[in-house]
Symmetry: C2
Subunit: 198 residues, 2 copies
């Protein structure tokens, strides 16, 4: 894939290298973590010179930030929740989280979690994007007390589930079918949201 080219502007500008770089970077950050993802690796993986990465994104930190995309499907899901009866919250919300993951933002989440392990700024991004912009609004739409605590617990569950499955790679350890796993996941969400707390 690494096509050798001479320096200079290409004849037809339909390549969109920036997008290629972003794509390669997103994958590498999710697979290797922040430190082990080097500019040179990203460049090589995108079939591009390292300097081009710097040209487009300035520095490594900004490159990482550029790879983070907040899921969009969440807005409409929140609206639906207020109408649903309390007993179905767990199932509904875990469905939303499941969908959000499948729709491509799972890679972003893994990248952010991995980066958080070494970059405090990434940890801050986790708090902002996934807690404040995602889970807290969801919980805020419901009629419960201790909203922050429940939202934090949801984020813990989300991070932990992603950690064990995508980073530790525990899949092959569990023989249960996906349907059963989702059922348990939903039950936990339901507990987090509707457990009586004194």
């Amino acid at each position: 894939m690494t096509v050798k080219r001479s320096p200079g502007r290409p004849r037809s500008s339909n390549s969109d290298r920036a997008q290629q770089i972003l794509h390669a970077a997103g994958r590498l950050f999710a697979d290797l973590g922040y430190d082990k993802t080097t500019i040179r690796l990203v460049a090589e993986s995108a079939g591009v010179d390292p300097k081009l990465v710097m040209h487009y994104f300035g520095n490594k930190q900004r490159l990482f930030i550029a790879t983070v995309k907040v899921p969009r499907e969440v807005g409409k899901a929140i609206a639906l929740l207020k109408l649903a009866p309390k007993s179905t919250w767990g199932k509904r919300i875990s469905e939303v989280i499941w969908i959000a993951q499948k729709s491509g933002s799972l890679q972003t989440l893994v990248g952010v979690i991995r980066a958080s392990a070494s970059e405090p700024e990434a940890a801050e991004m986790f708090r902002q994007f996934y807690l404040e912009n995602l889970l807290l609004p969801i919980v805020s739409g419901l009629e419960v007390d201790h909203k922050e605590l429940r939202a934090v617990m949801m984020s813990s569950l989300m991070a932990g589930y992603t950690f064990t499955h995508q980073i530790v790679g525990i899949e092959d350890f569990v023989t249960a079918k996906e349907k059963t796993r989702k059922q348990l996941f939903a039950a936990i969400v339901q507990t987090i949201l509707s457990q009586d707390l004194k």
Copy 2:
């Protein structure tokens, strides 16, 4: 703390540098993660020459492994569980996890989670130590189905809770008292262990 010394064997060998190094390393791995924890930093933090770290532990990976200590208090806790009625499992087990964390192995857990983000070997250690040697035995002592699934969910909860609280640093976000947090935590564990699954 950094006492300058000349090369050569010290007069009194009551210093136990290896222990000092291990102590400093454990703290740094937990605070900075695997990559950002350099041999030189560990050495400086222990008031010691970098080569001495290599002398005692061979290389960085073995140094990390040496800092990992599996909690001991768990064995006796497991024995107690079989006698307890099902409705109290959540409370009991979350108590065990809470105690295990407070007793110094929290730092180890944080270190392992951080390292897992960049070192697959560390992720494997998480699976072995916390899932196979800790949570799976606990669940195995109980009369439930889908033991692996429930154990994995417990490990997810444990990792996620540690991640949000120790790495993301979400403490100040939650105004709920510790008692309330523990109550919710216990309820989740109870759900994981006793939820009916088809």
